[in-house]
């Protein structure tokens, strides 16, 4: 594309020709933007970030996610800086990897994240949620469901799996803000250091004092007697540390935002707990937090749009989940929806590795919240703040506990 990009952070005039998913306008209205684009310009384009496409139909998003021949995962976060020449490994395997290396990197991790490996973590997750709820109830009636509850849960769970101090949670969230929410736009505060420094430090600790956790497993992993390459280990630890935090936090927060505004759905979940299996998937469909990205690796046409090598392509799985061609009553939240092939965890070979973990955390977080706070409402709808960027969820969510 030959156009000149508008200045960074400048307001968007028309989302079909000039979108910017890192702005607060997108954070507030993303769903309406997708619905509008799907109707009038299903594959939108922007000159920002060096040329970026935005498909909004399920069909196109699915086609791209399944097409590893024309699209590479070496870049998955749209930013002014384009990572090129890194395929097929990328900087954070397996999310940044392409076939054939992708399968190698993914299979190392699959057993640790399989449904049966994750199930035993439910008990400690539930105990942790219950202890957070003690604090929430004690602090009430005005609390922040994101800051006081949702954001702590995934940090705790992944810290336990990886074997890093849970008290480093604020640091993890700082890395996420800089790398994912405002890519390339915010420098690290001096006293906090970079993600790379942090990884060196925790890996060194594990080498000195070997432990039976995911980092220990990766350090011990051998292929024909050889350990994994240091960059592979670093990238995979960074990925597993960060990929599950703002994503799951967003899903829990958005679900509580929904429940704060829908007393009928709260009541049904309390009276018919067996609905939870369906409700969790509907929360994931309706409030899917994660938009991924690809780069074009060889010329291709999607939805009639010619895409050139190294163009960015956003993959808004949340938009696919709202496509009326793919879902009945796509714009309605149906708590007991029985046919729900949602794409919140992606489609194709990169299916979220943490999906079983995330699903468990979401279910337990909602159950423990409702067990203690069956009635609550938004304290001030205008005070709810949604994140910008590729992971979307409420970052500030003040609610008032009713009764109790």
């Amino acid at each position: 594309m030959t156009g000149t990009a508008p200045p960074e952070g400048s307001p968007v005039e028309d989302w079909a020709t000039d979108f910017d998913h890192t702005t607060s306008a997108w954070a507030a209205d993303a769903t309406d933007i997708w619905d509008d684009l799907r109707e009038r310009c299903p594959v939108a384009h922007s000159d920002r970030f060096g040329g970026t496409w935005l498909p909004t139909r399920h069909e196109d998003i699915s086609a791209i996610a399944h097409d590893t021949e024309h699209f590479t995962s070496q870049g998955v976060i749209v930013a002014p800086f384009k990572p090129v020449g890194l395929a097929p490994v990328g900087y954070a395997p397996p999310i940044t990897s392409d076939p054939p290396f992708h399968e190698f990197a993914r299979r190392i991790l699959l057993p640790a994240f399989s449904p049966k490996a994750v199930a035993p973590l439910e008990e400690s997750t539930r105990a942790f949620c219950a202890s957070l709820m003690d604090q929430v109830v004690a602090a009430g009636p005005l609390v922040d469901a994101s800051v006081d509850y949702a954001e702590h849960i995934p940090v705790r769970v992944i810290a336990q799996m990886l074997g890093v101090p849970e008290s480093d949670g604020d640091r993890f969230r700082g890395f996420i803000h800089r790398i994912l929410e405002k890519p390339g736009q915010v420098a690290p505060p001096e006293d906090e250091g970079t993600l790379i420094n942090y990884l060196e430090h925790i890996i060194e600790e594990h080498r000195e004092d070997p432990r039976d956790d995911l980092i220990g497993y990766l350090l011990d992993y051998r292929v024909d007697g050889e350990p994994l390459a240091p960059e592979h280990i670093d990238g995979t630890i960074a990925l597993t540390l960060l990929a599950g935090i703002d994503t799951t936090w967003s899903a829990i927060g958005a679900s509580l935002w929904h429940l704060a505004r829908h007393p009928d759905d709260r009541r049904r979940l309390i009276e018919e707990p067996e609905l939870m299996t369906f409700a969790v998937e509907e929360f994931l469909r309706f409030y899917a937090p994660v938009t991924m990205a690809r780069m074009v690796s060889s010329e291709v046409e999607i939805g009639g749009c010619p895409m050139a090598v190294d163009d960015w392509v956003l993959l808004p799985f949340p938009a696919a989940n709202r496509d009326p061609e793919a879902f009945e009553a796509a714009d309605e939240f149906v708590i007991d929806r029985e046919r729900n092939r949602h794409a919140a965890f992606g489609l194709g070979i990169h299916r979220c590795l943490g999906s079983n973990l995330a699903r468990m955390e979401l279910r337990v977080a909602i159950e423990e919240w409702l067990a203690r706070v069956p009635d609550f409402e938004l304290a001030d709808p205008d005070a709810v703040r949604w994140s910008s960027g590729q992971v979307r969820g409420p970052r500030e969510l003040p609610v008032r506990i009713v009764g109790g």
Binding site: L110, S114, P115, E281, R341, L347, R351
Partner: protein, 64 residues
């Protein structure tokens, strides 16, 4: 009713195992495994349909 499962399409979303554990298991890597041989018992037909209707990869179909 018979279950047809295409292992090459399965990427381990694990929806089938959650909705119909009587019919689907998962292996150590999280891929689905069909638990029954032959026709689906009548009492489990609705569950087989649910699994088919929720697989994001269209890896499961039920045929009469």
């Amino acid at each position: 009713m018979q279950i047809e499962f295409d292992r090459t399409k399965c990427v381990g979303h694990n929806r089938c195992y959650l909705l119909a554990p009587e019919l689907f298991d998962v292996d150590d890597e999280g891929y689905a495994v069909v638990r029954i041989d032959g026709p689906v018992p009548a009492s489990l037909e609705a569950k087989a349909q649910l699994a088919a209707d929720n697989c994001p990869e269209y890896a499961i179909t039920v045929v009469d």
